[in-house]
């Protein structure tokens, strides 16, 4: 596993191929858009999606936690797919989550899917979190937001080359702020060429840190897109 260095507002972060972002100074691991229990959320409405997404997401999260051994983990909102989703966690999933939380701070930042705190899922709930010049929040602000790390948009990059093209999840950054990819197993993606990204990165050139199989590729923004 090789990760990439991302500099934001003078701070250094490591982008992990799993989609997690590690800040060595704070020993903090940041993950966005887990969307736990998305499968059962759809099942309630008549689409019987597989009930394995929570286990898959938590397993991936456990692996990246084991790799970095952070002192704190911040989940950037939309950690649960709907406001009742945490109640549907299975016993084993609850235990896996508790095991990861043991011995470290666990911070649930509110998202539009999960505005209220997830009762009984451990950790603390926050609207936003700031340290130094860095601010963590779910939805990126429009306009300038130096030091902001957000989720919500689920960025993916389409990279075209001589042999064809491919789509992959990515971190997208202009050096001042960053939007992190969705970490959840059933969380889809939005092309970074989509207009939704325009008000977030209006003024400066962006770089996509594209998640490969076991490393992160740094691809200039103009090489991604339709």
């Amino acid at each position: 596993m090789r990760h990439a260095l991302i500099r934001l507002a003078g701070e250094e972060f490591f982008a992990d191929p799993s989609g997690g972002l590690y800040h060595p100074g704070e020993r903090m691991l940041i993950v966005a858009d887990l969307h736990l229990e998305k499968g059962s959320s759809f099942a309630r409405r008549g689409m019987l999606l597989p009930p394995y997404d929570t286990a898959a997401t938590l397993a991936r999260l456990a692996a990246v936690v084991a790799r970095w051994r952070p002192a704190r983990v911040a989940a950037l909102g939309d950690s649960f797919h709907d406001p009742n989703a945490h109640e549907r966690l299975r016993e084993a999933e609850r235990a896996a989550l508790a095991a990861m939380q043991a011995g470290r701070d666990w911070l649930w930042i509110a998202g539009n899917h999960d505005p209220g705190p997830p009762v009984g899922a451990g950790g603390q709930s926050l609207a936003e979190l700031a340290f130094g010049r860095i601010t963590l929040r779910h939805e990126p602000r429009h306009g300038r937001a130096e030091g902001e790390i957000a989720g919500h948009l689920h960025p993916v990059a389409r990279v075209a080359g001589a042999g064809g093209s491919t789509r992959a999840r990515c971190f997208v950054t202009d050096g001042a702020r960053c939007v992190a990819p969705a970490f959840g197993a059933l969380a889809g993606g939005l092309d970074i060429a989509h207009p939704a990204f325009a008000p977030v990165f209006a003024t400066r050139a962006v770089v996509a840190h594209v998640l490969g199989r076991d490393r992160v590729w740094r691809v200039p923004g103009e090489r991604c897109g339709r």
Binding site: G164, S165, D191
Partner: protein, 839 residues
């Protein structure tokens, strides 16, 4: 025994100076005996009348207790159902028979549908999907109890497909509801009529097989290949070099159908024909992406004889009798002899006149294929249709439909379903898996009981949980899954002066007219500013917003992005064998156009012609890379699969493959290392590289990442009802809120690899998108017979496939290589240098 024609019918034939044909009488007498029957007849043989004569006779003769549905007619195309209904009205009116004929399609108003259920006509013309809907309605039992006959038109086109599976299940249900039902299939000429006859017959001990009646063949078709005066291209599928010659033929004929293989080819040909249309000939366009109203208009103008030519795709392969068509032009290679014969049959719908057809190869390989196809068509040889096991996703859909009709017992439904040929070998375990899937998703983990769609009640019967489930079923019925489509919207706004510094284009103006729909995968290949042809115009892509491709009209003469490479149908096995044979035998090259002959002779000089048996492999360096090109002639899908699997092996053999491209005829792989040198030195064995065991572990590993597999899964998930069809108007904006079936596939594969939907997707992929069966046959055929030529430069035969390079989506190693290539351009920016993160 031959049935005599009762008087109104005998008189009607006599009055027109006709005599009933032998096969028409044969079908009548089989009906009187109560036998199921299959009529195999070429176009123009009076198939439709033959199919309905027994119904008309029976309805005229028999006194019935009450009016009700007597005969169901099922056609693969709703336009055909409407047309046949119209044709049937003529004899009914002329003989003054008291018979009511009506159609029921997706276009029928809901008021009329309700009335049809209350007061059904004698004869109802409909489609497989509408039949499924009727069978899933609560009054199915009363509606169908007295049905005597079902007529299945164009059965050859339906049987071996998922639509055929759905129809077979519907037929099994019909037989259960209407015990006195007999089935009649109408089919074009096929290789094995007995196979189709079995499909029609109930699969029970002692049930007699449907009898086969065959009509006499018509006159031999008159087929020629265009020997162009222009330069025949090496590659590509546009055939634009021959546009003037096609135009001249259209002008000389009365009415021409110009068949092409893909939508974008149709667009290109249509547009080019109009560019040179100095005589203002009435030339129209017909393909599946055009607005339905537009298509109906073209069909009506054609039927009225107001058109000189129609450029069309397989949308006009079947059915409707155009009457005056006297020339069929097939642009590109026909890909299979059965398809060619069917298309040729569209001309001269009168049995005793020969059909006239012109084949226009778009490139040199296609000239070989056309020659092989002409020989096959003249010999009247058909492609083999492989019998297939019924699809599990279709079974899931049917089970839900049956629950919507009435509560059912699992034992009884299992017995009924196995009465249909495609499901005759279905195990009880698989049936139960399908049942569980319908109920709760069928996951080993469980937990969805509270969300169940159907439940077993205390009486042991399965019933739907609530009315919403039935509504969902009605919206999802059918087995045809369209590609993800984008609306093409014309906008006036120009893109703001190139890109802004950030790489984002300015906001594109919206609100113009919608021109139609286009496959998302096609647009995915384009960058803003690229031009392409759609709806007969050259358009420039401005951007994609939500589910719309925003375009402006372009003043460019030639579109930048050529049509989607390759026909949609893979080369048939049968035709491939003929092409191989032709290539291997220089004595037969004399029948080829001169340019093609020269090309092959050049190949013989520089390399060698591929042998008929065995596999021919060339290696050569070019532009700082090395190439391996092989010529299996097994169709693009099988070659793509082969390319994926071979590059995996090459990687392990440290040949450093970088990418590959597949055509219908050959496969080219480019590498960093020189494979030719390794083969010659014995470091790498060609036999081992192409060994059949690549279909084992390598395949399983690759399937995990395969885009084809994901597409197959998406189709199965929609057909089985796991995810909802995206219906117009219900579209959500922003792609992140919809469920990605790709992600569902990843999760399911890891956690429940034997889930019924994954099995369904694998089965689809191996016969369809991945063509595994065909690849397996090829690998076994060439074992120990691989011939390698090491060359110092590209061979003439390799040129076409190398020209196809680019624009294919990639996965696996190729994907990583592509990302690396894109990333490497930034290496000088040392800040981004990745470092090893092992801590």
């Amino acid at each position: 025994m031959r049935a005599a024609l009762p008087s109104p019918f005998a008189d009607w034939f006599a009055a027109r100076g006709w005599r009933p044909r032998a096969h028409q009488l044969a079908l009548l007498s089989l009906a009187e005996e109560g036998r199921d029957s299959l009529l195999v007849a070429p176009t123009g043989a009076g198939k439709t009348l033959a199919g309905f004569l027994p119904t008309l006779v029976d309805l005229t003769r028999a006194k019935r207790n009450r009016r009700g549905l007597h005969t169901l007619y099922i056609s693969p195309l709703k336009a055909l159902a409407v047309d046949v209904a119209r044709n049937l009205e003529t004899p009914i009116a002329e003989m003054g028979l008291p018979i009511r004929v009506e159609t029921r399609t997706g276009d029928t108003s809901s008021a009329k549908r309700q009335r049809q259920r209350r007061d059904p006509p004698d004869i109802l013309m409909t489609t497989p999907e509408q039949l499924a809907l009727l069978l899933a309605s609560a009054d199915a039992e009363t509606l169908f109890a007295d049905v005597r006959r079902v007529v299945l038109d164009e059965l050859h086109a339906l049987a071996a497909s998922k639509r055929g599976d759905l129809l077979a299940l519907g037929l099994a249900r019909l037989r259960a509801l209407a015990p006195r039902l007999t089935a009649t299939g109408l089919s074009a000429t096929v290789l094995d009529p007995r196979e189709l006859a079995r499909w029609l017959s109930p699969q029970r001990d002692g049930a007699p097989e449907a009898a086969v009646a065959t009509a006499a063949a018509g006159a031999d078709p008159d087929i020629a290949m265009l020997e162009t005066r222009a330069r025949l291209p090496w590659a590509g599928h546009s055939a634009l070099h021959a546009i003037g010659e096609i135009y001249a033929r259209i002008k000389a004929a009365k009415m021409t159908l110009v068949f092409v293989n893909t939508r974008s080819q149709a667009e290109a040909i249509f547009q080019q024909l109009w560019r040179i249309n100095e005589d203002g000939l009435a030339i129209a366009l017909h393909h599946g992406s055009l607005d339905a109203g537009q298509r109906r208009k073209v069909e009506a103008a054609m039927a009225a004889g107001r058109l000189k030519a129609v450029v069309c795709t397989s949308t006009l392969d079947l059915g409707i009798d155009w009457g005056d068509v006297d020339l069929v032009v097939n642009v590109g290679a026909p890909k299979g002899s059965s398809r060619l014969l069917q298309r040729i049959g569209r001309a001269n719908h009168r049995l005793d006149d020969p059909s006239r057809a012109l084949l226009v190869p778009a490139n040199r390989f296609e000239a070989l294929e056309c020659l092989a196809a002409i020989a096959a068509a003249q010999a009247g040889e058909q492609d083999a249709q492989h019998a297939r096991a019924g699809a599990l996703d279709v079974l899931c859909q049917h089970i839900l439909g049956m629950a919507c009709a009435a509560p059912f017992s699992a034992d009884a439904l299992y017995a009924e379903v196995t009465g249909a040929l495609p499901y005759a070998a279905l195990s009880r375990a698989d049936f139960d898996a399908a049942l569980n899937f319908v109920a709760t998703g069928g996951y080993a983990l469980g937990g969805y009981e509270r969300f169940a769609k159907i439940r077993q009640t205390t009486d042991g019967l399965w019933r739907i949980a609530n009315a919403r489930v039935a509504q969902q079923y009605r919206l999802n019925v059918g087995t045809i899954v369209e590609s993800e489509m984008l609306k093409v919207r014309l906008t006036r706004a120009r893109r703001t002066s190139a890109k802004t510094e950030s790489g984002y284009s300015g906001v594109v103006g919206r609100g113009g007219r919608v021109l139609g729909e286009i496959e998302e995968y096609f647009i995915e290949q384009l960058s803003p500013g690229d031009t392409f042809v759609f709806g007969g115009e050259i358009l420039a892509l401005q951007g994609v917003v939500d589910n719309e491709a925003l375009v402006t009209r372009s003043s460019n003469e030639t579109p930048k992005v050529p049509s989607y490479a390759g026909g949609r149908f893979p080369l048939s096995t049968y035709l491939a064998a003929r092409v191989r044979k032709l290539l291997a035998d220089p004595a037969r090259w004399t029948h080829l156009p001169e340019q093609v002959r020269d090309w092959l002779q050049m190949q013989a000089l520089r390399s060698a012609p591929p042998p008929e048996q065995g596999l021919f492999v060339e290696t050569f360096p070019r532009g700082g890379r090395h190439y391996l090109v092989c010529y299996p002639f097994e169709g693009r899908l099988a070659h793509q699969t082969l390319g994926m699997l071979l590059t995996r092996r090459m990687e392990r053999a440290r040949l450093q493959p970088l990418g590959f491209v597949a055509s219908d005829y050959s496969l080219a792989i480019w590498l960093r290392a020189d494979p030719g040198a390794r083969f010659e030195s014995g470091l790498v064995s060609l036999d081992e590289l192409f060994a059949q065991d690549m279909l084992g572990d390598d395949l399983e590993e690759w399937l995990d990442e395969s885009a084809m597999m994901k597409r197959a899964f998406r189709n199965c998930a929609i057909v089985a009802g796991l995810v909802e069809r995206r219906s117009p108007g219900k579209e959500k904006t922003g792609r992140q809120v919809t469920v990605s079936t790709d992600l569902v596939f990843d999760v399911l594969r890891r956690h429940e690899p034997h889930h019924i939907l994954l099995r369904a997707a694998r089965a689809d992929a191996s016969t369809g998108l991945l063509d595994l069966d065909r690849l397996a046959e090829m690998l076994s055929r060439v074992r120990g017979r691989i011939i390698h030529k090491r060359l110092d430069r590209v061979s003439p035969l390799a040129v076409p496939v190398l020209l196809d390079i680019g624009r294919e989506p990639v996965a696996g190693e190729a994907r990583e290589a592509l990302l690396a290539e894109a990333a490497e351009t930034l290496i000088e920016e040392a800040t981004g240098e990745p470092w090893d993160g092992a801590r």
